[in-house]
């Protein structure tokens, strides 16, 4: 990856204090995002993928959330140490976020033009007239027809797909260098999803930024991502280029995800669900958090006793897996132990 290093998260650790105990939501996550890249974070409910994204911008409510360790380096500056003023500057200005549900994320009483324009008034000090003009340009950029008319309409007058475009217009209003998109198309129909993803990819090149894409949809990841991080129980299970993750799975959890997914182009492959229960984040299993559900786990050995590091596999430098048996798994030599 040649692009400039924008974001570097190191050993991030997030805890939620509850009266039942401490929820270990994110446990030592590290990754880099470079300019021009689409970096996908994949995982199921409770994997910590959204918490990771929100802690980058300090958006988690404290209490109960508490970032207990690690660093979030935004172009060398640690955002975890930043002042509230500085954070506000970064949010929306340098890093912008796109949420899943555009209806709740947009204010129903203001016109979309005002909401898009507000960003540049706050961050760029534009006046009202300039902001409105800028809003029209942004709406045009995300493919909203008749932007000069639509700019004065309210969110409820837009369809779901159009609202998500408005959200994207808001997010890119200040030409941020990183867009964090948290399940941006989960609430949308497939034909609209295709439109929105196309807009997102186009925008990324237009404003020369990077995208951190948080999703559970492996199809979307396959079509969008350059690099993928798979999360399980607040830890990284595997990280690599999109081809490495899809064609040379080096973690049993990733394998499990792929095998449980029905594919449009191979309908007769049998679906294999991952057995067992997702772990409690309060009392994580010892060793590898996936071992109670893992078909390959060595229940007498390291899988139970030691937390595996995210170690390089394949000697490629890019591909890393938190499985003791990653090399064997890739080589297809790993035996199913149960």
């Amino acid at each position: 990856m040649a692009g400039e290093l924008l974001l570097s998260v190191k050993d991030l650790e997030v805890r939620f204090r509850t009266e039942d105990g401490i929820v270990q939501a994110v446990n030592g996550v590290s990754f880099d995002i470079r300019r021009g890249q689409v970096f996908a974070v994949v995982g199921e409910s409770g994997s910590g993928k959204s918490v990771t994204a929100m802690s980058i911008l300090g958006l988690l409510p404290k209490p109960p959330a508490d970032v207990t360790g690690g660093r979030v380096l935004w172009r060398g500056e640690d955002l975890l140490q930043a002042t509230p003023d500085r954070l506000r500057e970064v949010r929306g200005g340098e890093i912008a976020m796109i949420f899943q549900d555009p209806l709740t994320a947009l204010n129903p009483v203001h016109t979309v033009g005002r909401q898009v324009g507000e960003m540049v008034m706050v961050h760029r000090g534009m006046n009202k007239k300039q902001a409105r003009q800028h809003a029209i340009e942004m709406l045009e950029l995300v493919g909203i027809p008749q932007p000069d008319k639509r700019v004065d309409m309210h969110p409820h007058e837009f369809s779901g797909g159009m609202r998500q475009r408005v959200m994207i217009a808001m997010a890119i209003a200040c030409k941020p260098q990183l867009l964090i998109a948290d399940e941006p198309t989960t609430a949308l129909d497939v034909t609209v999803q295709a439109q929105v993803l196309e807009v997102l990819l186009g925008i990324k090149d237009e404003i020369d930024s990077a995208i951190m894409l948080i999703t559970h949809d492996l199809g979307v990841v396959a079509g969008m991502a350059d690099e993928v991080m798979v999360m399980y129980a607040g830890r990284q299970a595997e990280r690599g280029t999109v081809d490495q993750i899809f064609y040379r799975c080096a973690h049993p959890y990733t394998v499990g995800l792929m095998e449980s997914l029905p594919r449009l182009d191979s309908p007769d492959d049998e679906l294999k669900p991952i057995g067992g229960q997702p772990p409690s984040l309060i009392t994580l299993p010892s060793g590898c958090a996936f071992h109670p559900r893992c078909r390959y786990a060595d229940l007498q050995g390291r899988c139970v006793s030691t937390v595996p590091d995210l170690a390089e596999v394949d000697g490629s430098g890019m591909h890393r897996s938190a499985c003791f048996f990653a090399e064997e798994l890739i080589a297809g030599e790993l035996e199913v132990r149960r």
Partner: protein
């Protein structure tokens, strides 16, 4: 190899041409449903949402009929109409050749137990204040007069059949995860040994690794007792996996219906093509070479649908006739019915619809 391998059902055959020989279990004839939109001080009907318009559809015994379409296409409404859960506006729903859409509640009761439903949201479809055991025993009480307490053996058996533990019966819905709740919903539908189930987006609220377990369970149950399913979903991959026949809906109408391969390999309606091309496939190399038909605009309002063909406003092939005349859902030479004046040619792999680019 996991243990599910041995219990995986053989997929029932469902080829073209079989239709005549197979028994029609449930049939919709010219089915229409319009919801009034009330407004004004007096609550008068000011408009009508045309949720389902002139739908003809057959469900054969023992098959899975997938119904796909995007939100607002009327597929969930259709599912409820088929079960007589909401009153129809006009048309007929025939169960074993008998119209059930106009039956009184009492007369409907014996039919009701043979037609069941599984709902989308496993959190909302279970009464939070009823134990799982009571919820599952309720159908026995209502239909067979068995007391809740005496039905516990059958409840336990049901729980085991859907892959839960018999001890779970004394628990309450909030103690279960989404996937487990969906199994409870399936057990409830299964309790009275129905002939057919309508499944309304049964897995769309679940994580993928959980979805797979539910899909496998449904296929196993079907193989065991010859159930018919109407599987309503927006996820085309899941529908292709589980269905023998598929109906595609757009804005209240069925635009194309046929066997699974008719729809996924030989689709002729432009909307079906666009829908299929938009589904992302978990295969990066394939995704890089695929061309998408990106539809322009949004689905029009069902209150005031376009004249003629309802898809014409987003269709790249639309001509004058499309606005004037609604295309009939008839076989146009491909062996399956398509409602389009200008159907696509057969023989193009839907994964690579390269004959046309972005419209």
């Amino acid at each position: 190899m996991s243990t599910t391998d041995t219990t995986m059902p053989e997929r029932p055959a469902g080829g073209v041409g079989d239709d005549d020989r197979r028994e029609v279990l449930l049939e919709a004839v010219d089915l229409v449903k319009e919801f009034p939109v009330r407004g004004g001080v007096l609550g008068r009907t000011v408009a009508k949402v045309k949720a389902v318009s002139n739908v003809d559809l057959q469900v054969y015994r023992g098959e899975t009929l997938g119904v796909v379409g995007e939100s607002g296409c009327g597929k969930s409404t259709l599912g409820r109409l088929l079960l007589n859960l909401i009153p129809i506006t006009s048309g007929q729903v025939r169960f074993e050749s008998r119209d059930i859409a106009h039956l009184k509640p009492k007369a409907m009761r014996p039919v009701r137990r043979r037609l069941q439903m599984v709902f989308q949201d496993p959190y909302a479809s279970l009464n939070p204040r009823m134990s799982v055991g009571d919820a599952l025993a309720e159908p026995f009480k209502v239909h067979e007069g068995i007391r809740l307490r005496d039905a516990q053996d059958r409840v336990q058996e049901l729980l085991v059949r859907v892959g839960l533990s018999p001890e779970h019966r004394s628990r309450y819905p909030h103690e279960f995860s989404g996937g487990q709740r969906q199994r409870i919903g399936i057990a409830r539908a299964l309790a009275l040994d129905p002939d057919m189930m309508v499944l309304d987006e049964p897995v769309s609220a679940l994580d993928v690794s959980i979805q797979a377990g539910i899909v496998n369970l449904l296929m196993k149950l079907q193989a065991e007792q010859g159930l018919s399913y109407v599987f309503i979903a927006h996820d085309l991959s899941v529908v292709r996996h589980i269905s023998q026949r598929v109906a595609v809906m757009y804005l209240g109408r069925i635009v194309e219906v046929g066997t699974r391969d008719d729809i996924y390999l030989r689709s002729q309606h432009p909307y079906t093509r666009a829908l299929l091309s938009a589904v992302p496939i978990a295969d990066p190399r394939l995704e890089r070479t695929r061309k998408r038909i990106v539809l322009q605009g949004d689905v029009p309002s069902p209150i005031d649908p376009p004249s003629g063909c309802r898809f014409r406003t987003r269709c790249w092939k639309a001509e004058a006739i499309c606005a004037e005349q609604a295309p009939e859902l008839v076989d146009r030479g491909s062996g399956h019915p398509v409602a389009c004046h200008f159907p696509e040619e057969v023989g193009i792999d839907v994964r690579l619809p390269s004959s046309y680019g972005s419209a």
